[in-house]
Symmetry: C2
Subunit: 396 residues, 2 copies
């Protein structure tokens, strides 16, 4: 007697979460140290010390009804003002508190944005491979997911196909850079090309097309990358969805925000819509205490060098074992080509060696697997032998 | 370019939230002490000390990745187990961790339950007056709200009309006791009659009809009421939606849970559906740190005597000024008959004396207003003169 939509969802439950449960099962059998669970994007680096220090300070010093109570559905004004100022400093933007709506993480942020804009059958373009949950978020509001075929050379967006795919039904384009699952980071050049196409199409079709940027991995970049382009500077109808889940290692706390710039057409109406959506999907507001913690951590970051060390070691192991992949420049995933076309079969084989990966069919890119390196460095070292056995199985 | 559904919602934005903003505006003009804002259900009594003690203890002693990280979408198993045991002790039920799904407050809990069960055009019966947000929650999933006319004598459910209203399209019945906005508490006798009607109709129509009990005010009861009937003991297809917002004064923290008993038909499927819905509406999981705080507060409660004192004083003022209302036995609202049929006009007049009430048309009960007494005792005392002036204006 559950709903028809839910029956479908029950059938296609999250592969990622399934692997997570499978990992816990294997750990019970083989012991925690002998299972190499590379399936979940759960940060392995602790939150910076400023987080817990701020929690204790706030709880000891501030009024209980204030720090645990309701505030405006868009969040505490002073917190939003400080976040706006911090973005302005970093990216030379010009936001005030009213452009920032605090959310229950980026997942909730995406939901309230999509609820605010989508009419049934409106299309949202995504670039494969893309985070599989986007399918659910878009379908929550009866929207249609329009994936652009992956560019298997470097996993940058396939802009030619993109331009052809925009039509009267296109309501939004959803990008995610640094990317889950590939770890690639779109350069400024690519952002300019992509937004130029969108501007042209907005004129041609005489309609707004939103560019939604899902940015939980913004701060997780390596090598010589210093900043990821801030898309509101390149395109007016842009909406940023940010999360502290990875930058401060707080995924369980559900804290993030949405940025709606004044340049967006009918910006005030959109801000109201997103705020109301935040209330009526049941979030009501982002969790209060952790909202108040954010101003103490605006310049804090997790220890990114730990992820970088993991990235280098895992990439070395993969390459030495002749696996095919590009070295990621952001996030904490490596996207690896399966040695056989059926990557689900490959994942099953990997499981024989207690290696858990996520098959990428759910990301819209069959034939690949996602390997998450937000794990301990020691686990990656211990897993080396398993990777080598797995490679041998495929005569690599 | 916002969605059609959102345009409607923008027009009918929450009256309650509007009054809240109005209150802040008046405070700026007349000073905080001279505005009597009785509009919002924001707890005025601080969280019990165990809450902040637990926060500090957990943050100091436990692993950062554990307390701020992802867990199963339904919440930490040990927390759910302790909640289950606590319910079992209090109500002689037989729940285990798997019957409990931690949620982002009751608002989110209701959303994931409704998402799990509603097909478009399915009907959900509510008893007027009812919490106005139910309209939005039900419409989020294209359900139809079927209000039962209020029983103006004592605001107990109108069971005759209820029985006639159940039909093939009825998917669920949503009750809320102690009630927002009337403060009435359904007795065991009423729960038995109500569930007997539902059992009869389930047989007659040969279908499941869910009884959803929204229980944020369960612990807020006065006079000789010791417990509010636990509905899973009276009806198999029952779902409890609980929140700590009021019992622990943590509304901003967004923490609650859903109970799905084994007795519910296809219970396992429903548990899976609600868990998936929790993930895909973007909550992902209830905030992690505050989840871990709950086991330290299972026997804690806010200082209910403070609310009781407020209730007694406000009721006395109202009655002395000849306003018509019944004395509430639970929650923190008094539901008052407007001296003129148009209660919105009455609210405008009240505002002249800096008294802010919520007109009850949005609760499905025109001609009444909701007065929330989760405010300071001193504010109620200071407001006495305004109530008396307001009464005079209507020659009471």
């Amino acid at each position: 007697m559950i709903s028809e939509k839910m029956k479908e969802l029950l059938k296609n439950n999250s592969v990622i979460r399934e692997m997570f449960e499978e990992g816990k099962r294997l750990e019970k059998i083989y012991g925690k140290d002998n299972v190499f669970d590379f399936s979940l994007g759960n940060p392995s680096v602790p939150a910076p010390k400023e987080v817990n220090e701020a929690i204790i300070k706030i709880v000891k010093e501030e009024d209980s009804n204030f720090i645990h109570g309701y505030m405006s559905n868009s969040g505490y004004e002073d917190v939003r003002e400080k976040i706006a100022n911090s973005i302005n400093e970093k990216f030379s933007t010009n936001f005030s508190f009213k452009n920032i709506i605090m959310t229950v993480g980026a997942a909730s942020g995406l939901n309230i944005v999509l609820k605010s804009i989508l009419n049934p059958k409106d299309e949202v373009i995504v670039f494969a491979p893309y985070f599989s949950e986007y399918n659910n978020y878009i379908q929550n509001y009866d929207g249609i997911v329009k994936p652009i075929e992956p560019n298997l050379k470097d996993f940058m967006p396939n802009l030619e196909e993109f331009e052809k795919s925009i039509n009267e039904k296109t309501k939004a384009v959803l990008i995610n850079t640094p990317n889950n699952p590939t770890g690639v980071v779109y350069s400024e050049e690519i952002i300019i090309k992509l937004t130029d196409i969108m501007k042209k199409k907005e004129k041609e079709l005489n309609k707004q097309i939103y560019l939604i940027s899902d940015e939980p991995y913004r701060e997780l970049v390596y090598d010589n990358i210093t900043t990821v382009p801030y898309i509101t500077k390149y395109y007016d109808n842009a909406i940023i969805v940010y999360s502290y889940s990875k930058s401060l290692s707080l995924p369980g706390e559900r804290i993030g925000y949405v940025v709606i710039p004044n340049e967006l057409e009918n910006s005030d109406e959109m801000i109201d819509a997103v705020t109301i959506a935040n209330r009526i999907i049941g979030s009501v507001n982002a969790p209060s205490l952790i909202q108040r913690v954010i101003p103490y951590c605006l310049n804090s970051k997790v220890d990114i060098e730990s992820y970088n060390k993991n990235r280098n070691l895992l990439y070395k192991i993969l390459i030495e074992n002749k696996f095919e992949c590009i070295k990621p420049q952001g996030a904490f995933y490596i996207f690896v080509k399966s040695p056989i076309p059926d990557e689900k079969e490959f994942c099953r084989t990997a499981k024989k060696y207690n290696l858990l990966f996520v098959p990428a069919t759910s990301f819209g890119c069959p034939g690949y697997v996602r390997i998450a390196y937000c794990v301990s460095y020691e686990m990656i070292k211990r897993s080396e032998e398993s990777f080598s056995k797995l490679a041998k199985e495929y005569n690599m």
